[in-house]
Symmetry: none
Subunit: 508 residues, 2 copies
């Protein structure tokens, strides 16, 4: 065996990804030292954190203890590590002052040190979620017998609770038979795309080309039995540009081709949507609150979108991620409310990630009738990922009215935070704060290069996201996106002062 | 401003989407009345539900209170609304009789009538699962704060608990860093196949063909960045023939091509496995307890399988679905125990479906090191489907020792049921009962045509599965498969008497 590697746990908190090559020209102690240096510089191991004992690391890497001791001695001498009075070895706590701020990796590492102030967008305030109603819902769910079968689309109690939620909060009237329980927004999207992909068999595709019919997916299709060859063209999925990167990655992972559709400050541009064979199979939109720019799609564009989807047999997925959180006025009703529940084009993608927590991992799809059998068959084959206890608990929590109460409380909380943002940034010269009628994040465009702003803030311990990352290609606007949901008032003020200073190209 | 709109809360329960146009020819009170009529007719507001107070609605729409009062008066006169003795205004409760009910879509009900005796295989005894330890695990999980982030591969407490479980129950030593938390067996399989599919880019595939190298998947591959075109050849997944239909459907759903590999009474036949470009990318096996025939793969075949997988760069997925349930002797160690944890070929697919309940929907993958980054990146993009509370609860349940206790209890229970099966069917002429060293089901081959047996039993209220359905093509054996896990002793005796009568071609 010429590779030693391991994910080594040192304390309950930390794990070191090291990979040694016994055949390399570089001696093993130098390999350990070099890789640790990189981990420290990349902030994978934070100043003050303990590294594994030399014995533990040596055991796991299957090298001699002397190899690890030599590497540690070198790093102690260099000041990367320091020995504590208790005898353990930690990353030098003083490094905070020396190292540049953590560079933002293209993909966040699984274990990142806690930043001093994490204002990356998308995270709600969760400290008030564990209420008596929450605990009671889970207690009741776990006390009941578990021999109840879980249907592929979910427990009927939960599906009914979702229809009630949709009707009250979004004016969308659906039957429980049209609801599919999901493990959150991305899981629901993956389920739907998998079900839709099965409708695209090559036979049908060729037939369309030869007959000149348009492509697309619709209720009149026959559903061919799936063969065992698996050959099919990839699904074409349109996404908003700029848009939500984490939802854009789902179709890419599933082998779909992802096509950007431009948005402006009012949302998706509907003037020039491609038709016929150039139309996508699926279009993913955020009509209530475009992510990240914040626009609410006007009624005329909604109508144009639905007409286009009908004519070109496109399935429109409405990502309704945070419409409960509006501060200035009510949102327009959901796009799904304008659509026909039986043979319509809109699938509403519902989630509690923003209003409760992404860690709950429960959401739903609201489907037109004609799509229900396909989604149900896909779920039957792939399995329902949300367990019985979790489904019961969420159903009980919704039925108790606790979600509505929590939503109201959070809306008030976020409204105050939003006011703080406006107050702090409204008069700063050289920047443009986008209107924030809802949601948990703010977008600030600035004349100063975005990379400088993000890096300067990171160096000050404030984590924000660069605006350009929301474009699949190169971004056409520069700025930052930051969340104001998960922090308290004092931390937000502190962050805003730093943001104002960093964004302003000519500080006074 | 020429639009007034709002999602107006009337009581804590209800929100009304109204949108007024100050420039329209229709007076504002008539607009309010007309839109409310539509909402009532569409069942967005249900009979008996309170509407907002006129003051509250006027404030939110930014119109005079008189406008709303006029609209309400009109609707009171028309009978859409009624005034309550308490002074609030509700939708007329009598409307229930007038308005059509929400249209029920013409879909078959998801719930099938309960059969008199469901002996379809695969279901465990769940009535003893809800123990004090079970309830305590969920209670503790739901009482803790929910602001802990859930890493893509799962909570470290649960990943550690799985390694402990693997080591104690299966003699497989793995590091928590090699464990991925899944929402059960099928979800874990889908995750792994999605991650592996991304390794098959067309560039690499063509290169192999032109250079004559073998196909397959291995640690030395570079991992090409995913483009947005999504073009790639389907993954080739080998499955046992006969085998577990529900796992075979997962690769088919994901667009993989499914290739059958013959098994005999000792498990997978390893003499003539295809090599080079004819080898599959992935092979799914049940070495501990072949499903459904029951064989345990002998050591020489295990070694041949691993050698072949190494030489042909095949990923072997070990479906370890019920190895805890052995009655006659201990199981052979898992195939994964023979494999190299760092650069080996075996992924162990773990589940609690058979030992606890499929409704829990929690399992794990144990991965060789080289596959961890791909699976983690896939999970990062698609999201972790198991929520924080469920992960904590399962971790707590495992750590408490309750799973081991439950397993022991169930093993004793199922051993008694198995003895009932053997006693009832051993001396029936014309049939062959397969050896059942473990598991929750029995296989009975019979001279009588299987369709007749299944139909006769169904007519008597006993549900079993036909043996031939475990072949992807036409089955080469005829008989029935039935479960003995989820029934009590009396019901099983009753079912066995009916089975013996139905299977016997010449009843005495």
């Amino acid at each position: 065996m010429d590779h030693y590697s391991g994910l080594v746990r040192s304390t309950p908190e930390i794990t070191l990804p090291l990979r040694l090559d016994a055949d390399a020209a570089v001696p093993l102690p130098a390999q350990v030292a070099s890789q640790l240096r990189t981990l420290i510089a990349d902030a994978v191991v934070a100043p003050g954190e303990a590294v594994p004992s030399s014995r533990a690391l040596a055991t796991h890497l299957q090298v001699s203890r002397g190899t690890v001791v030599a590497a540690y001695d070198q790093l102690l001498a260099e000041g990367y590590l320091s020995a504590t009075p208790g005898g353990s070895t930690t990353v030098n706590p003083q490094l905070r002052r020396v190292l540049p701020g953590p560079p933002r990796p293209p993909r966040p590492a699984p274990l990142q040190p806690l930043p001093r102030l994490d204002l990356r967008p998308g995270r709600p305030w969760t400290r008030q979620l564990v209420s008596p109603a929450w605990k009671a819902a889970w207690r009741d769910a776990a006390s009941s017998p578990v021999d109840e079968p879980v249907p592929p689309l979910g427990l009927s109690a939960l599906r009914s609770a979702w229809t009630d939620h949709l009707r009250r909060m979004r004016a969308v009237v659906r039957d429980p038979g049209q609801i599919a329980v999901t493990a959150g927004g991305r899981e629901g999207l993956a389920l739907l795309l998998t079900a839709l992909g099965d409708r695209l068999d090559p036979g049908r595709q060729n037939e369309q080309v030869s007959t000149g019919l348009t492509g697309g997916i619709g209720p009149v299709d026959s559903h061919p039995p799936r063969g065992t060859t698996g050959e099919r063209r990839p699904l074409r999925v349109g996404v908003e540009e700029p848009g939500y990167p984490s939802l854009r990655r789902v179709p890419a992972r599933l082998g779909a081709s992802v096509v950007p559709f431009p948005v402006d400050d009012r949302g998706l541009q509907t003037d020039d949507l491609p038709t016929g064979l150039a139309a996508p199979d699926v279009l993913l939109v955020t009509p209530s609150h475009q992510y990240p720019l914040g626009g609410s799609l006007p009624v005329d564009r909604r109508q144009a979108l639905l007409e286009w989807a009908r004519a070109n047999r496109v399935v429109v997925i409405e990502d309704d991620y945070d419409s409960e959180l509006r501060y200035t006025s009510g949102p327009l009703p959901a796009l799904a409310a304008l659509d026909d529940p039986a043979d319509g084009r809109v699938v509403l993608l519902g989630t509690l990630s923003k209003i409760l927590t992404p860690a709950l991992a429960v959401g739903f799809l609201a489907l037109p009738d004609w799509l229900v059998p396909d989604v149900e068959a896909t779920r039957h084959d792939l399995g329902q990922p949300v367990g019985l206890v979790a489904q019961r608990a969420v159903a009980g929590y919704l039925a108790s009215g606790a979600l509505r109460l929590h939503t109201q409380r959070m809306r008030n909380r976020y409204r105050r935070r939003r006011a703080q943002v406006v107050a702090a940034l409204a008069d700063v010269p050289g920047l443009h704060v986008y209107p924030m009628d809802g949601g948990l994040h703010a977008v600030v465009e600035s004349d100063r290069p975005e990379a400088e702003v993000v890096a300067e803030l990171a160096a000050a311990g404030v984590w924000v996201s660069p605006l350009s990352q929301y474009w699949s290609g190169s971004g056409t606007r520069q700025g930052i996106v930051f969340g104001f949901g998960s922090v308290n008032s004092e931390d937000l003020d502190r962050g805003l002062a730093l943001i104002a200073a960093a964004v302003n190209p000519e500080p006074s």
